[in-house]
Subunit: 186 residues, 2 copies
Amino acid sequence: MLKQGALSRAFTWLESGPVTMITTKDGRKNNVFTISWTLVLDFTPRLAIVTGAWNHSFDNILKNKECVICVPGADLLETTVRVGSVSSTEVDKFKEFNLKTKIAALVQAPLLADCLACVECKLVDYVPAHNLLVFDGVKLWENSSRKEKRVAHAIGDGAFVLDGTVTTAYREIMADKVPAGSLRIK
Amino acid sequence: MLKQGALSRAFTWLESGPVTMITTKDGRKNNVFTISWTLVLDFTPRLAIVTGAWNHSFDNILKNKECVICVPGADLLETTVRVGSVSSTEVDKFKEFNLKTKIAALVQAPLLADCLACVECKLVDYVPAHNLLVFDGVKLWENSSRKEKRVAHAIGDGAFVLDGTVTTAYREIMADKVPAGSLRIK
């Protein structure tokens, strides 16, 4: 079940480079697409994604200035890939892929209830030269009840690597480089 | 041993979100720093990193318009963290951390010989509003002789997750979304 989490932890869900599903709303209906090309710009969190006019959701984001960036666990990887393989002009992806939604707090776009984390985002800049959409994360939701905690990372040619071992051995060395208390995995 | 690889595969080393070491040259001496906040902007490959004036190498990159983005394996994670924890104004990081270098083909900055991959990069844009340096990758080097193939991904608070299982189960669904033959792990 998605519960609100400390916004200071939101960047940790993105900096490891997971494949994500991003929701938007066009005023009437919700949309969702898949993207691996995301970026953390600041701990605050400031986040960015790469997309453009070829993506049906791009216009929604420019118009409504918001989205929700959702991080699915490895159990949702097939769904995530399939969401990225079709256009919402062809199918209702939420119905087709049985995507459960929840109402967000600060944006119109929905949360994806079965993801490990969802970050509600407000658009702060668009850099056309690089197809870059820059957001402030404004609310974090986390789902600690999912059994599958691993995320998936794209490694080219339709392949993915799933999370393996976690190490905290170097935390002391990095103590002055990252905000304390921002560890994602307990 | 680093060998030249197909440039079309370079983006695959970055899109999974590994922690990286980046080398620069200031005209006289080499420098190296650690960064997790990287981005793929295009398959060509166009790549970006987030850094700014607080980083000693930032001036080098703006001045010489180049760098090498290197992806260390998990066996170099402690080295990578330590490289990121000190300033080159205090120590010679190459000496201190026993970083072996190789001469690059198209840039002055060195390759890191023990990394899994190194991408020689030429600066194509700087977006000050977001501390974003945008590069074209111009040459890929890969090191297939390293026993440790896993990369490390930052997950906040000084913790990292290492690569686990690789899945190619969804390659067919994604066939029209990614360039064929770009799979990183054989």
